[in-house]
Symmetry: C2
Amino acid sequence: MIRLSNTNQRRIIIEELRRIKCHPTADELYEIVRQRLPSISLGTVYRNLELLADCGEILKLEFAGRQRRFDGDIRRHCHLRCLHCGSVEDIRIPGVELLERELDKFLGGRIRAAQLEFTGYCRDCAAKLGVTPSASAGRSRASSFMN
Amino acid sequence: MIRLSNTNQRRIIIEELRRIKCHPTADELYEIVRQRLPSISLGTVYRNLELLADCGEILKLEFAGRQRRFDGDIRRHCHLRCLHCGSVEDIRIPGVELLERELDKFLGGRIRAAQLEFTGYCRDCAAKLGVTPSASAGRSRASSFMN
DNA sequence: GTGATTGCAAACTATTTGCAAGAGA
DNA sequence: TCTCTTGCAAATAGTTTGCAATCAC
């Protein structure tokens, strides 16, 4: 694994990405980091996010929308992408660990990773738009994990 | 559902996308369509692909930060995205139907869709790069579906 | 005829890159 | 010291948009 030198910029980028619980785009993170390091440039943020993702320090989320997003939490978990605002939310679904273990069995050879992704509505948009579990009735299990 | 008028450009775009079995980008499809309709513009291809995806006639494959791809086959299936060349390949994995049925149980409420995506190497790149099933040994099931 | 669609070109957005100056080991 | 990294700005890549002309119904 590549050893990255410990610059102020890089350290603060990691710190802020780990601290916030959302999944910011490069420019969102740039604005956040700028509050601690006003002279940092957007290019530096992009370069570091790329490097850090290559090293496995952070996660690059490419499945979603137009803009790339980043996640400071590299533990395996699922994401829900909002169809309305494009945000990405961590999602815990009971029983999904079993599915993931099944998925892992497919890894090997040409396949290096498998991911489980969900699309729907984030908490905020669901509330604003009046999305309710009854919107797709008949799938009663759904309501058990949505809150 | 929106009713789209039947223009020559639109018809040929759908026909060609359904005919080819890969997952072209807008400009790849533009080049293909141009062989039948030399005066078509790239903008028209973009506009139609967007509309057709909105209508559910085709599938839009979005990977943030890279090029969008389109799929004329809207039946449920998995994709393998190549880490080397960025191409997207349909992938058939025995047993995946069971996983998908399990995934469907999560749908409802805020969650509208679940998808299973794989990353790794396409057939061509795997051959070129010498990627072999033994690359991640110990996961013996893997070789059973890779060819 | 009227609204939808087209070709063209310019605009826009996200991301990457070249380069000289500066920081880290 | 010497390489890696930074800030800046320009470049690039992919996509979207405005507009006048044209087409489908």
